[in-house]
């Protein structure tokens, strides 16, 4: 296992750099996760309208209605002045104006006449409010018919019935990203930079012409050398993958472990790791100077991360950018990751989409290995 140990020794000598990339990744992930969580916290709340009330009645029922509306909306009392009312609607200071007529009880409860509502033209908010008012008046009417006094009927109508509601989203998507989703989203940056850098530098060392010739002239067969190199690649890639997964557990391990689709997340990251290993392998074959490795890895990793939705959400990317991104493996990692973050119910079509994304990533791996073999063959002829 001399070749394997050689890789490990060189990896050890590059530990400082690996640690730096791991710290950057952890820092970016934590920062983005905390920012994302504060901005994306969401809750369902009833819509509150700005309502103006012109009370020409001033009776018990009118007061009861105003109190009822105040519980659900922002209510202000307004004088019965046409100009004031028109101004308030024109400048949209209020969404609607309710005019309570004289003899409100007689006209609207006993007489079943509709309460006049004036709204901002072209808006639909008034429907919501008028439904609530109708409900209130219907209840008062019903309680009165049942023999209750007006005061009792108003009190009963003001009590709003509430119940717990569980939403069933048939689209299978949620509106927010789980906390650990950020770690998965930024993983391409870690994998691409750390793996391409470290393995690129190691391969560059091994591919120096004279070192390579010395290895070729040695008693260790080429097949064995290749096998030990691949093992070393997998070990280095695996170590960085384990770190990334541990970080995910640190961020919100409980939530991740409870996620029914954690297996898909793991498969996706493994596919990404293979893609990154394959890219670093090709890079190492093409480049044999450490400075050149540096010059290539930075634009390669940053470019791919920006184009494929790692740093910028895919939904913000332009159509033309996406056309290009589709030819990059990280894009397929990110779309699968996005789908998993949004997924509430794993439907057959979502599962198919995920398998397609994973498959495309593996195809990229196969293509990159093909390129690597071709480059390797070409370089062999150069000796």
């Amino acid at each position: 296992m001399t070749v394997f140990k050689g890789y490990m020794k060189i990896t050890k000598s590059l530990f400082g750099m690996i640690a730096m990339y791991l710290c950057i990744f952890a820092g970016v992930t934590f920062a983005m996760q905390s920012v994302g969580q504060t901005t994306e916290k969401s809750a369902y709340a009833a819509e509150k309208l700005d309502i103006a009330v012109v009370d020409s009645d001033g009776g018990e029922l009118a007061e009861g209605l105003v109190d009822f509306l105040k519980e659900n909306h922002h209510v202000e009392m307004m004088k019965n002045d046409e100009e004031t009312m028109q101004e308030a609607l024109y400048y949209e200071n209020v969404d609607l104006i309710i005019r309570i007529p004289q003899n409100f009880e007689t006209v609207c409860v006993d007489g079943e006449e509709k309460l006049p509502i004036t709204k901002v033209p072209g808006t639909y908010n008034a429907i919501y409010a008028s439904q609530q008012i109708n409900t209130f008046l219907n209840q008062v009417r019903t309680y009165k018919a049942a023999g209750y006094l007006l005061e009792e009927a108003i009190a009963k109508a003001q009590v709003q019935q509430t119940s717990e509601v569980e939403t069933l989203d048939e689209s299978g998507v949620t509106s927010g990203m789980p906390s650990y989703g950020y770690a998965f989203r930024y993983m391409p940056y870690l994998f691409l930079t750390a793996l391409c850098y470290v393995l690129g530098l190691i391969l560059a060392s091994f591919r120096k012409k004279d070192v390579k010739n010395r290895m070729m002239a040695s008693a260790v067969s080429l097949r064995r050398q290749n096998a030990e190199s691949i093992l070393a690649f997998l070990v280095v890639g695996g170590a960085i993958w384990v770190f990334a997964m541990l970080l995910t557990l640190v961020i919100d391990g409980k939530a991740f472990l409870e996620d029914p689709y954690k297996g898909y997340y793991i498969l996706n990251t493994l596919a990404l790791m293979l893609v990154s290993l394959a890219i670093s392998f090709v890079l190492g074959l093409l480049v044999n100077k450490p400075t050149v490795v540096n010059n290539i890895v930075t634009p390669l990793s940053l470019g791919m991360c920006f184009l494929c939705g790692t740093f910028v959400d895919i939904s913000f990317l332009g159509e033309n950018v996406l056309k290009v991104s589709q030819f990059l493996p990280v894009y397929w990692y990110e779309v699968v990751n996005q789908k998993l973050c949004d997924c509430v119910t794993m439907t057959a079509s979502i599962r198919m989409f995920i398998y397609k994304g994973l498959g495309i990533q593996l195809l990229f791996v196969a293509a990159l290995i093909g390129i690597a073999l071709a480059v390797s063959k070409m370089k062999q002829q150069e000796v």
């Binding site: 140990k5 004279d210 010395r214 002239a217 260790v220």
Partner: protein, 309 residues
Amino acid sequence: MIKIQNLVKRYGELVALDHLNLEIEEGEIFGLLGPNGSGKTTAISCLLALLKYDKGTVEVFNKAMMPDNYAAKKQIGVVLQNVAVFEEMNVRENIDYFCGLYVNNAKERKKLVEEAIRFVGLEDYTRMRPKQLSGGLLRRLNIACGIAHQPRLIIMDEPTVAVDPQSRNKILEGIMELNRRGATVIYTSHYMDEVEQICSRIAIIDHGRCIAQGTKEELKSMIKTGEKITIEGVLLKEENLAEIRQLPHVFEIAYEDQQLVVRCSGAKHNLVRVLNYLQEHDIAFGRVFSELPTLNDVFLEITGKELRD
């Protein structure tokens, strides 16, 4: 031990090796001497099966040398022209790594690594990285990496290029010591003095062809020049030059800027005869040198150009 027959290697139109024939016996220090670009490194690469060749055969330890002949490779140590070590490993780790390509047993390897470190005199530098070493120490590390597993055959491709004289002497002494311990050495160089100093047999290569092969004495005997006499500060007329040219065993003279160079075949008393002539004709002269032929003379006479060209 090694037999190379009719080896031909072409790079497109360029013929790097042109029907090269070499035979190397066990226990020799065999020198491959030739100017830069003469085909020495190509010959070594073909010998190690690092390079495919167009024609010919290469046998090492009486078996055809193929890329998968690991039994033969196990007995070969390689010291390449450029320093081939890992910058990320220190001296000991480098030697241990390359020794590990031949020796699996960790205990045995440790012993061999320590021996190699002692042999090249790097005891005080074992924890240093290559970039912390001077050029000479780096070359010694390069050698230690190639010989740590104590191979039967050591191939050294210009191991003293860009090395200071002190380190060069140390390296040459080391090569002779390795040979005394039983290793056969193939040593390529374009420094004729080095080859002359350490090699028991020499092949002179030019344009991929072996133009002469033998011991240094045999090579020198192949050429006309037996002695080269140089006389400075001498004023000669045409008639004097014609008469000197007629002296026994003189076959070539050159006269320029009051300096006379006389080339004689390998006979005795050439110098005495030339000096007697000058005294008899009352011709004053300055300093006098008499040199035996060098490998450069051999190369010059065979190819018509200096080895260093």
